[in-house]
Symmetry: C2
Subunit: 262 residues, 2 copies
Amino acid sequence: MKQQQTPAALRHSIRSGAMGTNTSGLCPGFVQGNLCILPADWAHDFLKFCQLNPKPCPIIGMSAMPGDYHLPSLGVDLDIRTDIPQYRIFENGVAVEQVTDITAHWRDDLIAFVLGCSFSFEEALLADGLEVRNLSEGVNVPMYRTNISCQEAGPFKGNMVVSMRPFKAADAIRAIQICSRFPSVHGAPIHFGDPSQIGINNLAAPDFGDAVTVNADEVPVFWACGVTPQVAVEKAKPPFCITHAPGCMLVTDKLNSCLAIM
Amino acid sequence: MKQQQTPAALRHSIRSGAMGTNTSGLCPGFVQGNLCILPADWAHDFLKFCQLNPKPCPIIGMSAMPGDYHLPSLGVDLDIRTDIPQYRIFENGVAVEQVTDITAHWRDDLIAFVLGCSFSFEEALLADGLEVRNLSEGVNVPMYRTNISCQEAGPFKGNMVVSMRPFKAADAIRAIQICSRFPSVHGAPIHFGDPSQIGINNLAAPDFGDAVTVNADEVPVFWACGVTPQVAVEKAKPPFCITHAPGCMLVTDKLNSCLAIM
């Protein structure tokens, strides 16, 4: 019964190589996070970029010092080198390898950042009885590049990427209320309605993920998306970088409910 | 300097007959309320109607027992018979008289209800730097009859009346967050966007109040409105009823900030 597994047990299973796939739906109730590992001489600017753009880049944990692969605030025995099912290694902005363990690639100048993800607020929306279209249609959430500039920090810059979920207006109002409680997992939407107002020309052709049905009585609602920092990192082309592979997240010991500010 | 006047001083001035006009903008920071006075044998159903429809009919105070014209929770020396600038007296649903004092009309079977009003949340929107169109255009907020049925209680029934304020989407999201903090003054909007979805055919022709400009990059946002119980009372045609005259509200000692639930 994998859904009753604790996050620690799941991480041990991943660490041992017994589980190497998508973490979506695993350990319901617990926070999952995006991973970005950078050399220390790039980490300060990345941290500043996240601080300046908290809606797309909400940091929920980071290495206490360069070379530290434990993040005890996210899991007592967590080892960021082994506890994610699939990692992607980038050199100069280009993906060069996908691996299940980065112990051999670890360096004493690396800093790991864990960023909040939409799984947490989607769970809160479902718990309130709302339909989350990408979940009910069994696809990845549609994501779009916008014309909204992020605040720059050194080499890190670019436009915000957003995810979209359609709702009837009354449900959109409820979704805004619910997500406002979760500022560390993208928080309230940043836009709804006319996509062209934020530079999106065709809802049916997302830049990432899959298109979903938008019914005539629904409005598209847009959230800041964790792909934003990934795009900024790809553009900045650091000599070395490690991320999680899409859908293969870090499962933490933190309860989603603990992220609620009220 | 009338804006520095305390609510108690303003009520004394109204009581003495020195101030008989609109209370809009007076005693900023303090809650103003709508008044509805009914005979005790109608009051139970009205109370139930408000309880079933809290968004349009948020009760913030009522007589402790029939005949009681003091509402100490809203103002220590408050006298509901004299402290409102203009009252309207209805017989069998028809307005028969407008007076500045209802002492001569008071009866020992009357129960006064005070309902929250949009002034409180408009103040919170302004304090957050949002433009409230009806205020910036110096007109009454536009109000519309909808096709949304209220829950019935005895003779009290009817469709919800809504007020409308236009915003850009990002400001509408912020307005939803702000108003969610104030459930006792209509709370979060009940709809935004396509007016026809709630039975409104022409935004330019409000059923009450005045039309306001809606710019091309804005969406209309709709709040449950305190005219809803007035319409329900007019339809129910109680033999006797007293309300405030439009814009001539009860100014209470309660701070708007005290209505915030978080």
